[in-house]
Symmetry: C2
Subunit: 358 residues, 2 copies
DNA sequence: CGGATGGAGTGAAAGGTTTCAAGAACGTGC
DNA sequence: GCACGTTCTTGAAACCTTTCACTCCATCCG
């Protein structure tokens, strides 16, 4: 049954070693089922061309041998992967996991799977993941980049890996992008605070290399100018990351200021910062919003459940992910795909942290 | 230079097509650098055996051709993957992303990359991902399973893919597992509530197919029995998932009860439920903890920042992930690895939601 | 009854890398 | 000048699938 034609050769040390004892391949299945390699492959990929009887035999053989298709070999030969990757900034931020949910929704509808990767706001990790994903020849990459000008990012599409930028807009002709107008979002937040009569307003966010941080700040400045004030009125508190812990740190700094110099309102670059800030300020005895009004950004689910429900700038998170994935799928399947820049409009959700209890 | 020996054959239609125009391979690099295939491979895998001059030539050729190593081919031949996967229950739950952070920490230290997958508490998706990951021949799988008795899960190790179960204990001899004693956690929570004098206590959690939900409930019952009460005293509110939205739903149900039948305390299977419950109850006018004391589980970062800071059962999230990844690495590299069951001990963190303001 | 049609299955080639035994180049010591 | 080491490089096999031109057979039509 098992023919080993190497027997015929003159004596030679049997070289090479099996890299892994990883079970049976198509060959073994074919032998066990008494059919050819090609037929097994047909059962796997085009079951309709195989007669029911033969198919049953092959499937039985697969089951009894515990056959597991080797995806590397499949992909090598077939040249296509069934995987999308979403490389996100921070898995600990519910905003991104909501985006990821949208991505998965769209991918599942197209029969693809999604691998999530997280750069943790670290440019080196981002670069390493991009290299890895390109080497894996994934169908496409969705990314919320740290450094959107990275040459690595720009080169990917020309080498055959489609890339869609999520939650950022890119000004080049190589990628699709799906974003929310962050400048407008910043403007909405500050306009709201100005309307409430605040004069000393702080912007809490950082590092200043992150696009979202910059845009939201620029929007804030613009709102000030629109109101006839100098943009330099904005008191900037730079943080090291967009996390709850950094938010607490900023709260500490803010609360430490003498009351007559302390801002009466703070706009945070995201909700994590805002929640940390809120928590720290409250625990240090400041009243929100009486002593300090707070506006967050993203309107994550926890914003509403916070100690003082948080006013925030809402973004269509899931839709963002879904749209991005759909663009990516189009790019990789539609030969005359055209790159698009989709921009959604954010929306201010006013809650107690600025408006006070009614 | 480029010899095409197919020329020698009698006229035949040149068949097959190139699956994808995906850039240059080692062959092209070798030709461009004037060396053999083997040398290029050496530059890639064992740079120290190649003379500096040759290496420089090869590297220059790679750069100018934009060479990207084909990981499928590499893995097919070399038989090993540099990837770990963590298949989690719910990426939207900060508990799991914290675990993931620990996993990545350990993986990075070992020079591996991590792909995150999420089953979203759906058994079919879990199964599909397991199949996919096995076919990809990843180095190993970390999983927080929905169905820990799935035969798929049990069979993986015997076919060569190591599996470590995270946040669950498995009673078989095939896997390592790293967990926290959930029964004890449930006990701590209820003992605390009993000590505060509560008599009508609800347990909010579900679906009852999830191990964590069951164990925490069993712990709760045990605490009741220890206190000399029947386990049936526990008022069970079953939810459809462990999410904030389901927590709100449960809050609605609870608040709807007449005050004399309404529980005076609720223990939730996780913090997401607790936060939703809290939010809904507060917005319906119940005072926490006076009208309803609430205990959560996991002590996620947002628990402390909630409307009423949440009493919760803390687990060593990151450590859980790190330990699990280390066990997995050991299993896949150490020939005489022994399966282990690591169990951490949870800790009750008391905050305002049960103790009230001081 | 001859030829056309079509369904089912076959088998060799191809895909890009790694591996390893063996070869080449170049001293070195006697 | 020769055998011997070293150091570097080579070339072909192997990894496991998928693909596709082709064969084989039975059926159908005129």
């Amino acid at each position: 049954m098992s023919v080993d034609d190497a027997e015929a050769l003159p004596e030679r040390t049997r070289r090479r070693r099996a890299p892994k004892p990883h079970a049976a391949g198509v060959k073994a299945v074919a032998a066990a089922a008494g059919v050819s390699l090609g037929t097994v492959s047909n059962v796997l990929n085009r079951p309709e061309v195989v007669s029911p009887l033969t198919r049953a035999k092959v499937e039985a053989a697969m089951a009894s041998l515990g056959f597991v298709r080797n995806e590397s070999a499949r992909q090598l030969r077939a040249g296509s992967s069934r995987i999308l990757a979403y490389l996100m900034l921070d898995a600990g931020n519910p905003f991104f996991t909501d985006v990821a949910k949208g991505v998965e929704e769209a991918a599942q509808a197209a029969g693809l799977s999604v691998f999530l990767c997280t750069s943790s706001e670290d440019a080196d990790r981002e670069a390493a993941y991009l290299d890895l994903l390109e080497q894996q020849r994934v169908q496409g990459i969705l990314i919320t980049p740290i450094d959107q000008n990275s040459s690595r990012l720009r080169k990917l599409p020309s080498r055959g890996t489609p890339v869609v930028v999520v939650d950022r807009t890119l000004d080049d002709a190589e990628h699709c992008s799906v974003a929310v107008n962050d400048v407008l979002g910043g403007e909405l937040a500050i306009a709201h605070l100005l309307e409430l009569g605040h004069e000393r307003i702080a912007y809490v966010g950082g590092p200043n290399t992150i696009g979202q941080v910059i845009d939201r700040r620029d929007g804030a400045r613009r709102a000030l100018r629109t109101a006839g004030k100098p943009a330099s009125d904005l008191i900037e508190l730079t943080t090291g990351a967009l996390t709850v812990a950094e938010g607490r740190g900023a709260g500490q700094r803010l609360a430490g200021l003498p009351a007559d110099r302390r801002p009466t309102a703070a706009f945070c670059a995201n909700d994590l910062l805002a929640l940390g800030l809120l928590q720290q300020c409250v625990s240090l005895g400041l009243r929100v919003p009486e002593d300090l009004a707070i506006v967050g950004y993203d309107d994550i689910e926890f914003a509403e459940a916070a100690a003082v429900p948080l006013t925030s700038v809402r973004q269509p998170r899931q839709l963002l992910g879904r749209t991005a994935a759909e663009l990516l799928l189009d790019e990789s399947s539609n030969p005359d795909h055209e790159h698009q820049r989709v921009t959604f409009t954010p929306e201010l959700v006013v809650r107690t942290s600025t408006r006070g209890t009614l």
